[in-house]
């Protein structure tokens, strides 16, 4: 198993470099550029000034030279400085955005799994029942409703009409003046709508996935043998069916790891949440190459890591997978 993990990690390195080459080239091919953003609307900007700016940011070099420089810095985990006016380190900018995005996504993911897995199991066990039909319609409705639109509706309902929940940001204006329990309550209140909405659309996928896994497992003969052994139906479902049906969900977990940090551009914009999604959006709009590359590299890294974790998790949980032979 150790060798297997090591091999997977080694194979990931060239993959990561390949991804970074493609993203670097694509970003640089995109129309516009950081110099344009900084000087197009400025009537005083002369051609000479633009050249100076280009040289300052190193943009006068050809793409491959810039890529190799970037790669050299990345080798020592230096993400470089942002092109934006504050000129701060990319890593510092990312670091301060991670916790809030991580929190919201971790909460919504947990919510998705906590709700979707039981729904899937129950719909499969009672296939064709009223519960199965209602939950099917409900999760697909959730899947089909555009979340930004639902977000606006819920903001109107809970924020404006009922006044129960705040509609933007992470804390209220008077946050600093609140006592500790109220502070916690205030933060929690701000999270309710974003977390609920982030989870809402994801329910359909996981619950249907779980349902079809369960249906697949339930029709296996070993479920019937388990019944024939005289096991109570609950034990048959839990011990024999659910454990086998949950296995593929490990993969989904692994694959959703990059999403935990990626953040959602749409949510963070609607709810004015200062997370990774918002940072990425700003970075793209101002052609802040180092920042974009930094975020995308982290995303690529997490995706590969998630894949490895999913495969390793699967190998640990499923005795059929032989890590010594399979590459």
């Amino acid at each position: 198993m150790g060798r297997y993990v090591l091999r997977r990690i080694l194979v990931s390195i060239p993959l990561l470099i390949g991804i970074s080459i493609i993203t670097f080239v694509v970003i640089n091919m995109a129309p516009g550029g950081p110099i344009g953003v900084a000087s197009d609307m400025n009537p005083k900007a002369t051609a000479e000034y633009r050249e100076r700016l280009k040289a300052y940011y190193g943009l006068d070099q050809p793409v491959h030279v810039r890529y190799i420089r970037w790669l050299g810095r990345m080798a020592v985990l230096d993400f470089g400085d942002s092109f934006s006016l504050d000129g701060r380190k990319v890593w510092d900018k990312i670091k301060e955005r991670i916790p809030v995005t991580l929190l919201i996504n971790a909460l919504s993911m947990s919510l998705i799994f906590l709700i979707a897995v039981p729904i899937g199991i129950y719909s499969a066990v009672r296939k064709g029942s009223v519960f199965d039909r209602i939950s099917t319609v409900a999760v697909f409705t959730g899947f089909a409703i555009p979340t930004f639109w639902l977000a606006l509706l819920l903001m109107i309902l809970f924020g404006v009409h009922l006044g129960w929940l705040p509609i933007s940001g992470l804390v209220s204006l008077e946050y600093d003046a609140l006592s500790l329990p109220l502070k916690i309550l205030d933060r929690a209140g701000h999270l309710v709508l974003p977390v609920f909405l982030a989870a809402f659309g994801g329910l359909a996928g996981i619950s249907r996935y779980m349902r079809s896994n369960m249906l697949e497992v339930i029709r296996q003969d070993y479920i019937m043998t388990a019944r024939a052994k005289g096991l109570p139906e609950k034990v048959v479902v839990r011990r024999h069916a659910v454990r086998n049906a949950l296995l593929p969900v490990i993969t989904i977990f692994g694959l959703s790891i990059p999403g935990l940090l990626g953040g959602s551009v749409i949510f963070e914009t609607i709810f004015a949440i200062p997370g990774m999604g918002q940072l990425f959006y700003q970075g793209v709009m101002s052609r802040d190459y180092p920042l974009i590359m930094g975020i995308l590299t982290i995303g690529a890294f997490l995706t590969l890591l998630g894949n490895i974790l999913a495969d390793v998790g699967y190998a640990v949980a499923d005795p059929r997978i032989n890590t010594e032979r399979a590459g």
Binding site: D221, M224, K229, G230, P232, N244, P319
Partner: protein, 330 residues
């Protein structure tokens, strides 16, 4: 037209009796219609099985023989009819009593791949029944599992492995070990060798026979393979479209089949020892189980069918001592 006695399952001392058992399954007529039609899988079957004997259930695929097997050990509930095991009406059992009864009836499935939980070790597969019924646990369970695995021709070390580490034949041995673990009196063998190579089939059949002699279990042996059925059965019931066409002692039934369907089946089966006595080629397909033909189920394909056959359904009547056939002409 014979006026002989209609078949009645012999309830005396029988381990298992089925009387007028019906079972249908709902299917949707089409994707867009809400109309529900029912497949008539088992359509009024009566049978009995004596302790320690083997009743072979043979027929084409879709004739309801596997459903019969599952009904016999109450993995399915019949729509109507009575199933008695050890004299007790199975439908009335529930809860603890039913679970106690489960110990005495087990099943071996056709597919040795889907019948073993891939995530359980062999000793847990084999020993779960002991655990559930409070018969053994821990070290004792492992020791018993080792002995049992050796009895079915595997090594004691097999208990610590997972099912995927075995071949199809070995997996079927595990399935057999699991089935006999609770010392049942009845085993439903649902096409137990159909998924195996011919050479392995013989080994598994011999193993089943040996176990029967040793432990005195009765087998309800379901198969579409005539040679296999002939090899293992004391009595044979030939099923067609959910009904029993012919019933009788194995050797007699195979050497002198009386029902036209049995005769056509035997004429189609390759047997050692020369060509079959007659050559009957059936035309047409098995009738739809959703809307079976009126009268005799077999009249659409029968070489002896007359107009009468499509109007009146023949009963399973005694045609010779101990032999029964559902045909107007025998």
């Amino acid at each position: 037209m014979s006026g002989n006695a209609v078949y009645r399952p012999d309830a005396n001392e029988a381990l298992l009796t089925l009387v007028n058992v019906y079972k249908t399954f709902p299917v949707r007529a089409s994707f867009f219609s809400a109309e529900e039609v029912r497949v008539r899988a088992v359509d009024g079957v009566s049978l009995s099985l004596q302790p320690g004997k083997t009743l072979g259930l043979v027929g084409e695929s879709g004739c309801g023989k596997s459903t019969m097997g599952k009904l016999a050990i109450r993995l399915l509930d019949p729509d109507s009819g009575t199933i008695r095991f050890e004299g007790k009406d199975m439908a009335r059992l529930a809860g603890e009593e039913l679970r106690g009864m489960r110990r005495r009836m087990q099943i071996i499935f056709q597919d040795p791949y889907s019948s073993l939980n891939p995530r359980m070790k062999v000793q847990d597969i084999v020993g779960e029944g002991w655990f559930v019924h409070g018969l053994a646990r821990g070290r004792e369970l492992r020791d018993k599992a080792a002995l049992l695995l050796e009895r079915v021709g595997l090594t004691a070390e097999a208990r610590n492995k997972y099912p995927h580490e075995f071949s199809g034949g070995q997996r079927q041995r595990i399935g057999i070990a699991r089935a006999i673990a609770l010392s049942p009196r009845l085993i439903v063998a649902d096409e137990p060798v159909s998924a195996l190579d011919v050479s392995v089939q013989a080994q598994i059949l011999n193993l089943l026979k040996g176990l029967q002699e040793e432990y005195g279990m009765a087998y309800l042996f379901v198969s579409h393979d005539l040679r296999v059925i002939r090899h293992v059965s004391d009595h044979v019931a030939v099923m067609y479209s959910g009904k029993v066409m012919e019933l009788g002692p194995s050797e007699e039934l195979f050497s002198r089949p009386s029902h036209p369907y049995t005769r056509s089946l035997l004429s189609a089966a390759p047997m050692l020892g020369g060509a079959p006595a007659e050559h009957i080629v059936l035309s047409g397909d098995i009738p739809s189980p959703v809307a079976p033909p009126p009268g005799c189920r077999f009249h659409t394909r029968c070489f002896r069918a007359r107009k009468f056959c499509s109007e009146c359904s023949p009963l399973l009547r005694e045609v010779a001592p101990g032999r029964f056939a559902a045909c107007h002409f025998v």
